[in-house]
């Protein structure tokens, strides 16, 4: 049970929390505007057969230039297992580095590729049952691409997460399509529709999880964005009692730099 919850938090929270811009559940290669200097937080409710997990991460990125970004992510976690007492506390800390590798711009469009390195430090509380922290060092390297035009955006991410202390390594594969519902203008007043998939393949145990994702984003000004999304598992190779019913996310991003 304890390891399962840790795995749940890793898959549904830690690996997606670093996405700094549209789309909602997939990483972006754009390091500008709200994607560059925007503090991001969201409330995520992971409703499983045997527990409900609430995660509230806070991500603060900082651009070292137009092609390099560093950042830190902290998270508050509450786990409410069926038939057990709920536990709360601060989860693991993550540092990340993004480096742009390629950029090809055209009029009203851009194609970019970045490399992203995430390092998870096992700082989370582990003296509770279930544990809040993973008690595991995790290093993840991803390639993130995006083709963004004024009419739509297509994003993709492939990464590998190396873990320690008995947690399985996993391959991450995410894809998203973002479609603006209002005319694109500046200063922004945008309503974006997000759809995508978020996959995890746990290599040590040959187990696959794919979530179908949908969401809506409202960019109210140059410096603020609000978003909400729903994820539903379409493939989940875990025992019946441990399955995820759905994941709900409500979040905001505010430009601070």
């Amino acid at each position: 049970m304890n390891r399962l919850i840790i795995l749940t938090i890793s898959v549904f929270s830690a690996l997606n929390v670093f996405a700094q811009g549209p789309p909602i559940f997939t990483e972006t290669p754009i390091l500008l505007g709200l994607d560059g200097g925007g503090m991001r937080t969201f409330a995520r409710f992971i409703v499983k057969e045997n527990a409900t997990v609430y995660v509230q991460p806070l991500a603060i990125p900082y651009n070292l230039g137009s092609k390099t970004q560093i950042g830190i992510v902290g998270r508050f976690v509450n786990i409410n297992p069926n038939n057990f007492e709920s536990v709360s506390g601060f989860g693991d800390l993550t540092l990340f580095l993004k480096q742009q590798l390629y950029q090809k711009d055209g009029k009203g469009k851009t194609f970019r590729i970045i490399a992203k390195l995430d390092q998870v430090f096992p700082t989370g509380k582990t003296n509770s049952m279930p544990s809040i922290g993973s008690d595991s060092w995790q290093s993840q390297l991803s390639l993130v691409t995006g083709y963004v035009t004024l009419k739509y955006g297509i994003y993709g991410q492939v990464g590998y997460n190396i873990t320690s202390n008995g947690l399985p390594d996993n391959l991450i594969y995410n894809a998203a399509f973002v479609y603006p519902l209002l005319p694109q203008k500046y200063p922004p007043n945008q309503l974006n529709l997000n759809i995508g998939i978020n996959g995890n393949f746990f290599t040590d145990v040959n187990s696959n999880t794919i979530l179908a994702s949908g969401g809506i984003q409202w960019i109210t000004s140059k410096t603020a964005l609000f978003e909400a999304g729903l994820q539903i598992p379409i493939v989940e190779e875990v025992p019946e009692a441990q399955k995820t019913n759905y994941v709900l996310t409500f979040g905001t991003r505010i430009l601070i730099f």
Binding site: G21, I30, G33, G106, Y186, K222
Partner: protein
Amino acid sequence: MRILLKTGIITLLTFATFILSTTNVNAQTKSETDKTYIKIEVDGLSCPFCAYGLEKKLKQAGSKDVLINLEEGEATMSVPKDQQPTEEELRKIVKVAGFTPKEITFSKTPFKIKQDEK
């Protein structure tokens, strides 16, 4: 006497209004001629939420009236003539903001542009 006083006040007010408006027009004309207008074609302006960095950087270059048009892929601005940045400086600013600069045009008169915000 009362009529004379009234006429005097009206004449004075008319004269004052004329002087003020002339001064204003002169000031405006002078202010406009003291400016350089710049239009920068920018590639990669594909999302409204990421254009803010460009606006911020161009304002740091001395302009208070940066306008960005996503549809046209353009940024326009004006700067005081004595603070006019060079083309090279402007290209560097656009690159640092994360975009690709294309043609840059300097003009003594304002550009006619379609604003996104309208």
